[in-house]
């Protein structure tokens, strides 16, 4: 008995969790948990502030990694075997359809959640100082998520895959000057073929996931270094009296600057240098609205994890991932549609390939990246930022409307067909 206790102690090396010291040590002696602070703000645990969307996105990504690695055991990235392997997964492999469905629905879910997460970050104005850069990291994560979905779309090598990628990569070739070359490098050829499938596979299972993992680490690290999650500062009781903090000053030297202490918490070089931390500090009297991460934050995150996993599993039990006929370069299905999250783009492209396919998306990405530097209004209070909220809402609504039109209102020949009108498939 004593030996078992000794072994356990040698692993965890912390005081019992009934003590405050033990609760702190659980977090900062553990390499996986120490991305959390030992204590978190109560407001940050509130479901209605974050909806835990960032966590859900992350957990969906974990599901994608595990199911993806499982699928790799049966998948060969060259035509037509790729398609046969899909059929095998559907009909022969034990639990194959379930794994495929989980991977597919988690991928769709991740696109949805990453977008909603971005919206919540915008509406809570959490991209403002000092979190500007983490917003930029976030936009890159959004692009990587879309890139992963897009490259994954080709892998089944069915009609849907083939034509979505043909159309999608041709959009890129409208980019001035480099468009054609970029497409050639991406496809490893002039048409979607063997070389393209292999390259998309490499992007999908190696390059993009690694990039996403690296950036996610940066994203999480920056949340800590930016002082934890943002809070609705205007709702907090005012600091009595406005405390002053010195910046960049070793003990006895003149301070560089003296500023009012903020209510946001930030970690600086507390233990390495004397003097106050670099950015913002926490007031002692604020400690009362913080609680230990264990169990309060961990418990909630564990719930989010379980809801995400069981949700995806439940959906995958009832809905299968679609698989169409083998890719046939000679016959374009009518209508040929890109993945749904690109249907807004395809709708624009159906009006003008250059404006809709290159200029508009490029401007959108640039605008997203520029938001934290362009929006100079320091307030996070919704009533102070009516303009920002209106503009962003218009952006969101326009995107949604375009996607809905592309998904539900476009029939054969991209003609406008409301979903309640029945069109005989293949009628020409």
């Amino acid at each position: 008995m004593n030996l078992i206790r000794e072994i356990w102690q040698s692993i965890v090396r912390r005081d019992p969790l009934s003590t405050d010291k033990g609760k702190s040590e659980l977090v900062f002696l553990n390499v996986w948990l120490h991305i959390h602070p030992a204590k978190v703000k109560k407001e940050n645990l509130r479901f209605k502030y974050t909806f835990y969307l960032g966590f859900i996105t992350f957990f969906l990504f974990v599901i994608l990694l595990t199911t993806g690695i499982a699928l790799m055991c049966y998948y060969r990235p060259f035509p037509p075997q790729a398609y046969q392997d899909m059929k095998d997964l559907e009909f022969v492999v034990y639990m194959g359809p379930f794994l495929r469905a989980m991977h597919r629905w988690a991928a769709h879910g991740m696109v949805v959640c990453v977008f909603l997460h971005m919206c919540r970050v915008f509406y809570t104005a959490s991209y403002k100082k000092p979190r500007q850069f983490n917003w930029v990291v976030g936009v890159l994560l959004l692009l990587l998520t879309l890139g992963l979905s897009f490259t994954g779309y080709l892998l089944p090598w069915d009609q849907l895959a083939y034509w979505a990628i043909t159309v999608g990569t041709n959009i890129g070739s409208y980019a001035p000057i480099i468009g054609g070359q970029v497409r050639e490098i991406l496809l490893g050829g002039h048409t979607v073929g063997e070389a393209a499938l292999l390259r998309f596979y490499v992007l999908h299972v190696a390059i993009l996931p690694s990039a996403l993992i690296l950036l996610t680490i940066v994203h999480f690290w920056r949340i800590r270094k930016d002082g934890g999650l943002s809070r609705p500062t205007w709702k907090l009781k005012p600091n009595q009296p406005e405390a002053l903090v010195t910046i960049g000053a070793p003990a006895q030297v003149e301070p560089l600057r003296t500023v009012a202490a903020s209510k946001d918490k930030t970690y600086g070089l507390m233990e390495v240098v004397t003097g106050k931390p670099i950015f913002e500090t926490i007031e002692a009297d604020e400690e009362e609205d913080a609680v230990f991460s264990y169990p309060y934050a961990f418990f909630r995150e564990a719930i989010a994890l379980m809801v995400t996993v069981t949700g995806i599993m439940a959906i995958s039990l009832f809905f299968h991932a679609p698989l169409e006929q083998l890719a046939n370069p000679a016959k374009t299905p009518n209508p040929a549609k890109a993945p749904w999250y690109f249907l807004g783009l395809q709708e624009l492209v159906s009006h003008s390939a250059l404006l809709g396919g290159v200029v508009a998306p490029a401007l959108m990405v640039l605008a997203l990246l520029a938001i934290p530097y362009f929006d100079r209004n320091p307030s996070r209070r919704p009533t102070d930022r009516k303009w920002a909220i209106w503009l962003f809402t218009i952006f969101v609504v326009v995107n949604l409307v375009l996607i809905v039109i592309g998904t539900f209102f476009r029939g054969p020949g991209w003609a406008f067909v409301p979903p309640w009108v029945h069109v005989v498939a293949g009628a020409e």
């Binding site: 070359q181 050829g189 070389a195 000679a330 016959k331 374009t332 209508p335 159906s350 991209w414 020409e428």
Partner: protein, 151 residues
């Protein structure tokens, strides 16, 4: 080493480092551009003239071309690849036009855009008769729609 020499060598080293990085990046990009394409040849034989009927064009799915044969005017070959985003167009005998299923582009009998987002007319390719009498199409040679081969 004096200050001047130090700065000189330092600058030279920095320039060398930057060029090294630039050359490596260029090499990576070049590596990704295939030197050999294992794709079907652009110039190929499609069979004897007698294989092709008069009237509606023959669609060759692998080559993505339409072969037209007219009693008076002879042979002509049109591309079936939509100039918008590369979907395969279909030829409707009913209205003698090409229809693209993807975004609704419509091309007239001689390939010009009549409707939809396509930016250019469909391509017409050179068709000749090889020594053995077979028809030879070269997709690298784009010809005006009036081009005809009489056999």
């Amino acid at each position: 080493m004096n200050r001047r020499a130090f700065l000189g060598w330092g600058a030279a080293g920095f320039v060398a480092l930057c060029s090294g990085v630039a050359v490596s990046l260029a090499a990576v990009v070049r590596y990704l551009v295939p030197s050999v394409f294992y794709e079907p040849p652009q110039s190929f034989k499609i069979g004897d003239p007698a294989d092709f009927p008069f009237g509606p064009p023959t669609f060759l799915p692998d080559e993505k071309i339409f072969v037209f044969r007219d009693r008076e005017k002879g042979f002509a070959v049109a591309s079936a690849v939509c100039t918008h985003l590369g979907c395969t167009v279909a030829y409707f005998q009913s209205d003698q036009r090409f229809h693209c299923p993807c975004h609704g582009s419509v091309f007239g009998p001689n390939g010009t855009v009549q409707h939809g987002p396509a930016p250019r007319a469909l391509n017409w390719f050179e068709i000749t008769q090889a020594r053995d009498g077979q028809l030879l199409v070269d997709k690298d040679k784009v010809v005006p729609p009036s081009y005809r081969l009489m056999v």
